[in-house]
């Protein structure tokens, strides 16, 4: 199972090589998540309308290795945007992927760009 995790490594905005178009802004729910596919990866994409920010991370919850994070509830903790896994409510920062309950798991995050109403996610592979 840990093989699955290796498939997801955080990508910083400035390091992204491929910017993949995953849909139009209107295809994504507001203040909630949806999932996109890129090769073998499942990526969760979130749109926070109050600050008009977009975030992307792995769809895989590292706690029980299930593809569920895009279906989690979004929000913030002390201003840090976060997602709560729908299975056991583990929460992760969407800024750096760290676990906000102080546990050992973390997730990979990806940069998102919006251009002319299209949503692009940055990858290195």
């Amino acid at each position: 199972m840990e093989e699955l995790l290796k498939n997801y490594q955080s990508v910083a905005d400035q390091h992204a090589i491929h910017w993949i178009k995953v849909g139009q802004t209107g295809d994504f729910p507001e203040n909630a998540g949806a999932c996109v596919k890129y090769n073998a990866k499942q990526i969760a994409v979130y749109h926070f309308t109050r600050t008009n920010s977009w975030y992307a991370c792995q769809n895989l919850c590292p706690h029980k290795m299930e593809m569920v994070l895009s279906r989690g509830m979004t929000g913030d903790s002390q201003g840090i945007p976060k997602v709560a896994c729908p299975l056991h409510k583990k929460t992760f920062s969407l800024e750096d992927g760290s676990n906000l309950n102080g546990e050992d798991y973390s997730i990979a995050t990806y940069p998102v760009r919006i251009q002319e109403g299209n949503v692009y996610i940055g990858f290195v592979d």
């Binding site: 999932c35 299930e66 279906r71 913030d76």
Partner: protein
């Protein structure tokens, strides 16, 4: 390093270990404990519970591991046979010896067995240890096989009645024999004893007072007891619990000063006549008395620990023998001097034979203070009275209010606020914790909650009788520090659920963003979003579709997420009644989508393993066949379970299925602070288990009895009677009022039982609101419910009819593929998720 040896590993011996283990100078002592029983110290106060517990371990005060972790050498099953004071050595029955610097005698007591002829016969037991209880139980089993069921207990004191209760629990017909002319002669007066006797006898036990046992008669085993007054009593077993004798034989042997009637003499430092030897607990003779209660024993342990560590703590000059307990199901309490009668004293007595309550307080003639008292049948005033007594506090103008409650006007505790107590007031007598200690633990910042306080001060960790006072003290202290424990929803909304409910209603707030703009901050989170969603649903009856993103994730997808991220589907089956045709549809759908099926606890059928994109297709088929959403995913009405009722059942009084269906149809879709479950039973056999539900309706002659606020789960609670003999419409009316009142006022995720616990005034207050309409909001509550009922819509039907809403069931925004990562494994002809 000083060597400390403790002889005796009973409750007080253990307390000594616990206190020394926590002492700042702990490192200066080496601690060895000898216990002659094989188990480490256990709770003898609750010994009679042994028969209902599944293991003796539950009575242990601490496991063997605890001693090891605290560097205490525990030698159980090892008896000390002699003490050599000159060389400071103790010898075991195996002839080993151990040296000590300080020796602690905590040998406790043995049951006093009167010298009656035939006392050595089979079937005669004492009641002190777990082994005694085991022997009693084995003998009981043997008796039962021979068709014998008769037991007697010699001794009508506190321990005797405990033993009698244990015998009764074993299913024996139990009599109690007491030498004195009344029960519990040290604690109760005649009238109190009479009241207790009638209570106990109403449970099928017999009490024989003023009986002097002369001879135990029987061939091999006991058959009867002859009394001095020429009467006799047939019995198959006798349990002797006629008092205690201190275990002072070691002390006598080594020449320590002992009392004429037993007990090792100690001064107020707990020192015996040998300054290297201390005695504590029931073996210690202090102020010419032996004290068979844990509280003084624990205090002695504390004094002894302090003394050997060089402290100056002394034993209180007078020992308080106040006690509050439940005997054979009856509350009994006695404090101070319960009996005094002289010219300086006025006794106030309240006796209610109908309710089986007796209360007596002894007050100084000038009305200035309380000197003692007795309570039988209702000891709820004990804590208040005990504090007034022990702190010599000023009494109210009409001292009778203390036991009668003030009649007319607002009821107010005679004590006022717990904060009025002096700091020295002892709140927890078992652990000797004062009010000051409890308050300081909070004001110093060390503790913030009730459980912090229990952990740090040990208050209410023993018998738990002072728990209500400690709870009050904790919240009063927090409040006085300006830290009112306000239950805000989360960091985004500084309001309680009830306040938010009122704000949304008052300002007609229509969505989450508006609520955040007006009363909150940030983006919200997984705590406040579902709370607001529930409030919107309860006020506007909006379905989970209208603001899908703020729904808890199950509500967002209108299904219950399972282990591997697939969902389960539960259509509504009102009252558990379903036609064969509909059953077949469920079977066909399950087969078509390869779903695992199981019957739920709420009389419906759960279909597991549906993928996100399959949910709308499955629901389309179910809706076409006449099903509706079962709201199994929501904090909302789940099911109203029913038994088959009078239409088929030969015992049924009313048609429980029809009524259950009517109720379930009325409240379906209703969202609430937590899930809601109901039940309707057609007679008092209660096959629908309605009293385990948030609301339960049970048929009786003349109508329905309505019970509320029960639940199963981790803390099971039986629902409590709200109203009796109702017709259908009145029952629905009360249910409307009850449900809306709960929905308006409960905290997030608070089910009805804990809500009622917190509701000031409890069930009596709820009855006033719902049945008597004391707040004058009855019609408003009913109208609100009717409005919600009128607006019901099946949210699954709504979802599949709207393409925009359907988008959320698409697994990937940028692909039409299914999620291929799912793996199932076979199980008993069906399937299950690959295990984690």
């Amino acid at each position: 390093m000083k060597k400390v040896i403790v002889i005796g590993n009973g409750m007080v011996g253990y307390k000594f270990c616990e206190k020394l283990a926590a002492h700042p100078l702990r490192d200066q002592f080496e601690l060895v404990v000898f216990g002659e029983e094989f188990r480490p110290a256990y709770d003898r106060v609750h010994l009679s519970e042994y028969f209902t517990l599944d293991s003796a371990d539950k009575l242990l005060l601490a496991s063997s591991d605890w001693y090891a972790e605290n560097n205490i050498v525990l030698r159980t099953g090892e008896m000390i046979t002699s003490i050599e004071t000159e060389t400071k050595r103790v010898f075991t029955h195996k002839h080993d010896y151990f040296e000590y610097d300080y020796l602690i005698l905590a040998t406790g007591s043995a049951p006093f067995v009167p010298n009656i002829k035939g006392v050595d016969k089979q079937g005669v037991f004492v009641y002190r240890t777990i082994e005694d209880l085991d022997a009693i139980k084995d003998y009981t089993d043997k008796l039962k096989q021979e068709g014998k069921f008769k037991a007697s207990v010699l001794g009508g004191g506190l321990l005797g009645l405990e033993a009698a209760n244990a015998a009764k629990e074993l299913g024996l017909q139990t009599d109690v024999i007491e030498f004195a002319p009344r029960l519990m002669p040290r604690q109760l007066d005649k009238a109190a004893s009479d009241m207790l006797q009638s209570k106990i006898e109403s449970l099928g036990m017999k009490i024989h007072l003023g009986k002097n046992s002369k001879e135990i008669v029987g061939e091999e085993g006991i058959e009867k007891i002859d009394f001095a007054d020429e009467t006799s009593l047939q019995t198959d077993m006798l349990i002797i619990s006629a008092g205690i004798r201190p275990r002072d034989e070691l002390a006598v042997k080594c020449g320590l000063r002992t009392g004429e009637r037993g007990g090792v003499y100690v001064n107020n430092k707990m020192e015996t006549s040998d300054p290297a030897i201390y005695a504590i607990g029931e073996v210690a003779l202090y102020n010419n008395g032996i004290y068979g209660l844990v509280a003084p024993g624990y205090e002695m342990a504390g004094v002894a620990v302090d003394q050997i560590a060089g402290g100056e703590k002394l034993m209180s000059p007078s020992i308080d023998m106040s006690t509050q307990l439940k005997l054979v199901g009856t509350e009994v309490a006695s404090f101070g001097d319960p009996f005094i009668e002289n010219d300086e004293i006025t006794a106030i007595v309240y006796e209610n034979k109908q309710r089986g309550v007796y209360k007596r307080i002894n007050i100084a003639k000038d009305g200035s203070k309380l000197l003692g008292g007795i309570m039988v049948g209702d000891s709820s005033d004990y804590n208040t009275l005990f504090q007034l007594y022990i702190n010599a506090m000023k009494l109210p103008e009409n001292p009778e209010d203390l036991i009668l409650g003030s009649r007319g006007g607002e009821s107010k505790s005679a004590l006022g606020s717990v904060l009025d107590l002096p700091d020295t007031a002892q709140i927890c007598s078992c652990e000797a914790v004062s009010k000051g200690t409890i308050c300081d633990s909070i004001t110093s910042g060390a503790c913030c909650t009730f459980s912090d306080v229990v952990k740090s001060t040990k208050a209410s960790s023993s018998c738990g009788g002072c728990k209500p006072m400690v709870t009050d003290l904790v919240s009063a202290t927090l409040k006085s520090m300006g830290q009112e424990v306000k239950e805000t929803i989360c960091e985004h909304f500084e309001y309680s659920r009830q306040e938010m409910y009122d704000l949304v209603k008052l300002h007609s707030i229509m969505n989450f963003d508006e609520a955040l703009d007006r009363h909150g901050k940030g983006h919200g989170c997984e705590s406040c979003k579902p709370v607001l969603a529930s409030i919107f649903a309860s006020i506007y009856m909006e379905t989970a579709n209208r603001q899908a993103p703020i729904q808890d994730s199950n509500d967002r997808f209108l299904a219950n997420i399972q282990r591997n991220g697939t969902y389960s589907v539960v259509p509504r089956v009102p009252g558990g009644e379903i036609t064969p045709d509909k059953l077949m549809v469920l079977g066909q759908v399950a087969k078509k989508y390869d779903l695992y099926t199981k019957i739920t606890g709420g009389q419906r059928i759960d279909l597991f393993g549906a993928q996100l994109h399959e949910l709308p297709m499955i629901w389309k088929e179910l809706i076409d066949a006449g099903f509706e959403s079962g709201h199994a995913y929501g904090k909302s009405l789940r099911t109203v379970k029913s038994c088959v009722g009078s239409t088929w059942c030969r015992f049924g009084l009313h048609d429980s299925v029809s009524f259950a269906i009517r109720i379930e149809d009325r409240y379906k879709g209703l969202r609430s602070p937590h899930k809601l479950k109901g039940g309707v039973s057609g007679c008092i056999r209660e096959c629908a288990e309605a009293r385990g539900k948030d609301f339960g309706v049970i048929a009786v002659e003349g109508g329905w009895n309505l019970f509320v606020c029960g639940n199963g789960g981790a803390t099971p609670k039986h629902a409590i009677l709200l109203a009796e003999k109702l017709d259908d419409d009145t029952c629905i009316k009360y249910l409307d009022r009850f449900l809306v009142y709960y929905i308006r006022t409960a905290a997030p995720l608070q089910r009805t039982a804990p809500w009622l616990d917190k509701l000031e005034g409890g069930i009596e207050y709820l009855k006033k609101v719902v049945v008597e309409d004391s707040l004058g909001i009855g019609e408003e509550l009913e109208a609100e419910m009717q409005e919600l009922v009128n607006q019901y819509a099946c949210e699954w039907k709504e979802a599949i009819e709207d393409p925009q809403m359907m988008k959320r069931f698409k697994p990937f925004v940028n692909s039409e593929e299914k999620d291929e990562s799912l793996v199932f494994v076979p199980m008993r002809d069906q399937k299950m998720p690959r295990p984690w």
